[in-house]
C-alpha cells in the first residue's frame, strides 16, 4: 500500500501569515486530491491534481503537483482564522479507481 507522508503534522500561525504544507510519496501518484476537514465535520474536497507540474489556484490557496508526480504542496497566502482545519491529501490506492488512501494530515490553526 502506497503511503502518503504529510508535513508538518501541526502548524500554528498568526492571521496574515503565509504557509505551505506538503504531501509526499515514494511512488508515483496517478492523481492526488486535497481535502479540508473542519472540527466536527467530514472532509471536503478542495482540488484534484492530475498532471505533473500542474498548478491550481483556489482563491488564496495554491496547489502544486510535482513534475514526477510523487509530491504535492498546498500554499496558503495571508491565512485567515477560517482556514483553520485538518488538511488531508489522498490518492487512489491499490489500482482501484474508487478506494482512497489518505495521509494523516496537517492540523492548521490560524490565530486571530
Amino acid at each position: 500500500t502506497q503511503l502518503l507522508e504529510q508535513s508538518p503534522q501541526f502548524l500554528s500561525i498568526q492571521e496574515g501569515e503565509n504557509l505551505t504544507v506538503y504531501c509526499n510519496s515514494s511512488s508515483v501518484f496517478s492523481s492526488l486530491q486535497w481535502y479540508r476537514q473542519e472540527p466536527g465535520e467530514g472532509p471536503v474536497l478542495l482540488v484534484t491534481v492530475v498532471t505533473g507540474g500542474e498548478v491550481k489556484k483556489l482563491k488564496r490557496l495554491t496547489f502544486q503537483f510535482g513534475d514526477a508526480r510523487k509530491d504535492s504542496s498546498l500554499h496558503i497566502t495571508a491565512a485567515q482564522p477560517g482556514d483553520t482545519g485538518l488538511y488531508l491529501c489522498a490518492q487512489n490506492s491499490g489500482g482501484s479507481n474508487y478506494k482512497l488512501t489518505f495521509g494523516k494530515g496537517t492540523l492548521l490553526t490560524v490565530n486571530p
Binding site: S31, Q33, G40, E41, G42, P43, V44, L45, T48, L88, A90, N92, S93, S96, N97, Y98, K99, L100, T101, F102, G103, K104, G105
Partner: protein, 114 residues
C-alpha cells in the same frame, strides 16, 4: 440540496456491546463508502458499495465489522462485541458514479467504547 447524513452523531457504549451506525447518502448517488478516522491513524477505508455489485469489504479490520446497504440507498455499519480500540470517528461518503471520483462526506459518528 441535502448532503450525506449520519446518525447518531455521537455514541458511547460499553465494551462487548453491539452498535449500529447509519448513513443516508445524497439522493441518486450510487457509490457509498465507509471510513474510520482515529487518532494517529488518519482515515482508513473500510468498505465500498456500488449499485447492485458485490461490495468491496477489503478494509474491514475484523469479522466483528459488517455493513449492508438496503435498496441502494441507506447503509448501516454494524460493530459486534465492541472493543476499546474501535473508538474512532466513522465517516460515510457517497459519490454520483464510479467514474466520478469525488466523494462527499458526512459529518461522521463519534464512537467511544468504554
Amino acid at each position: 440540496g441535502a448532503g450525506v447524513s449520519q446518525s447518531p452523531s455521537n455514541k458511547v457504549t460499553e465494551k462487548g456491546k453491539d452498535v449500529e451506525l447509519r448513513c443516508d447518502p445524497i439522493s441518486g448517488h450510487t457509490a457509498l463508502y465507509w471510513y474510520r478516522q482515529s487518532l494517529g491513524q488518519g482515515l482508513e477505508f473500510l468498505i465500498y458499495f456500488q449499485g447492485n455489485s458485490a461490495p468491496d469489504k477489503s478494509g474491514l479490520p475484523s469479522d466483528r465489522f459488517s455493513a449492508e446497504r438496503t435498496g441502494g440507498s441507506v447503509s448501516t455499519l454494524t460493530i459486534q462485541r465492541t472493543q476499546q480500540e474501535d473508538s474512532a470517528v466513522y465517516l460515510c461518503a457517497s459519490g454520483p458514479s464510479p467514474q466520478q471520483k469525488t466523494q462527499y462526506f458526512g459529518p461522521g459518528t463519534r464512537l467511544l467504547v468504554l
